[in-house]
């Protein structure tokens, strides 16, 4: 069993109204000093068996075709427990 984490974020140049709404609420809650908030998605994929390079490549293809829309989003793929690159 292996867990693969896919993180999807809007590209920096794409407006993120959700992040802006969260950011706008922070001062009202007494949190100061946060200059920006961007909101993304995290997917945890449980694999049946080991995360071989081939299977990670499959996950990458999945992330590119389904989990993200490359027109507006970037994604990263990593094994759970691995430091984020």
């Amino acid at each position: 069993m292996a867990r693969v984490v896919v993180e999807v974020m809007l590209k920096p140049e794409i407006l993120d109204p959700q992040g802006k709404a969260v950011h706008g609420a922070l001062p009202r809650l007494g949190f100061d000093g946060v200059t920006d908030v961007r909101q993304g998605k995290r997917f945890e994929l449980e694999l049946d068996g080991d995360a071989t390079p081939e299977r990670l490549e499959q996950v990458r293809a999945l992330a590119e075709t389904v989990l993200s829309n490359p027109v507006i989003e970037d994604f990263s793929v990593r094994l759970d427990g691995e430091p984020q690159r």
Binding site: I14, L15, P17, Q18, A21, I72
Partner: protein, 227 residues
């Protein structure tokens, strides 16, 4: 002419789209998302709504519905396809149209009668209009902001593929006030506002939307005889 209207789980405006097809004089054919048979239709409407609950991204899961395999294949072969609102999002996710639709820049759902200018009358769905004609149809969306990179936007403009633009107020932050676009062949059209809600004087702001549905009926027989 037989015009299919696809029903996804969460589609809202399939009934109005069906009515619009009938009022225009076409034969409306309901198409179920789980079927891969297009039942011999000559054109397809992807209606508005919240297919698959807008989970993941608007239109992202609908794009992989069994019916879409056939819709994409036939659209590439020239069959007219009109995606309205959520249908526009599905067409972008399916890469039949460039760009994407993101949350409105002002963060609120918008519902209003919207003035538009028809920029191109040389598509399967807008031939009933004059270029430059101003129309009013309802608009209702939470994620209607059209985005694409500058190069794509420039290409859309240069090739005359911007189909309609918002007039007065840009209701969702769409790049260059774009309300709808077409593919280069002109058979695939995506539109954020809702012409199907403006086909009868009794309901809605008028009948300005009817032209989308009469346009496709006037296509030459060799195009409509597809399949």
């Amino acid at each position: 002419m037989r015009v299919g209207v696809v029903i996804f789980p969460g589609s809202l405006d399939d009934v109005d789209a069906t009515r619009a097809v009938r009022i225009a004089g076409g034969e409306a054919v309901p198409l179920w998302h789980g079927d891969s048979d297009l039942r011999g239709v000559d054109a397809v409407v992807l209606p508005g709504g919240f297919s698959y609950g807008d989970y993941l991204r608007c239109g992202a899961i609908a794009r992989f519905a069994p019916v879409m395999t056939e819709v994409v294949e036939r659209a590439c072969g020239g069959m007219p396809v009109l995606g309205i609102c959520n249908g526009f999002q599905v067409l972008c996710e399916a890469h039949l149209l460039p760009g994407a639709l993101i949350r409105n820049d002002h963060r609120r759902f918008v519902c209003r009668d919207q003035r538009l200018r028809i920029e191109s009358a040389s598509t399967a769905w807008t031939s009933a209009y004059e270029p430059g004609q101003e129309i009013v149809v309802p608009l209702k969306n939470g994620e209607g902001g059209y985005v694409a990179d500058e190069r794509t936007l420039d290409r859309l403009e240069a090739d005359g593929l911007v189909l309609a633009r918002y007039l007065g107020w840009n209701p969702n932050g769409s790049a260059r006030d774009i309300a709808g676009i077409a593919n280069p062949a002109g058979n695939v059209v995506g539109l954020m506002p809702h012409p199907e809600h403006a086909v009868e004087p009794l309901c809605g702001p008028g009948t300005d939307g009817l032209g989308f549905f009469t346009s496709v009926l006037t296509l030459p027989a060799e195009l409509s005889a597809w399949g």
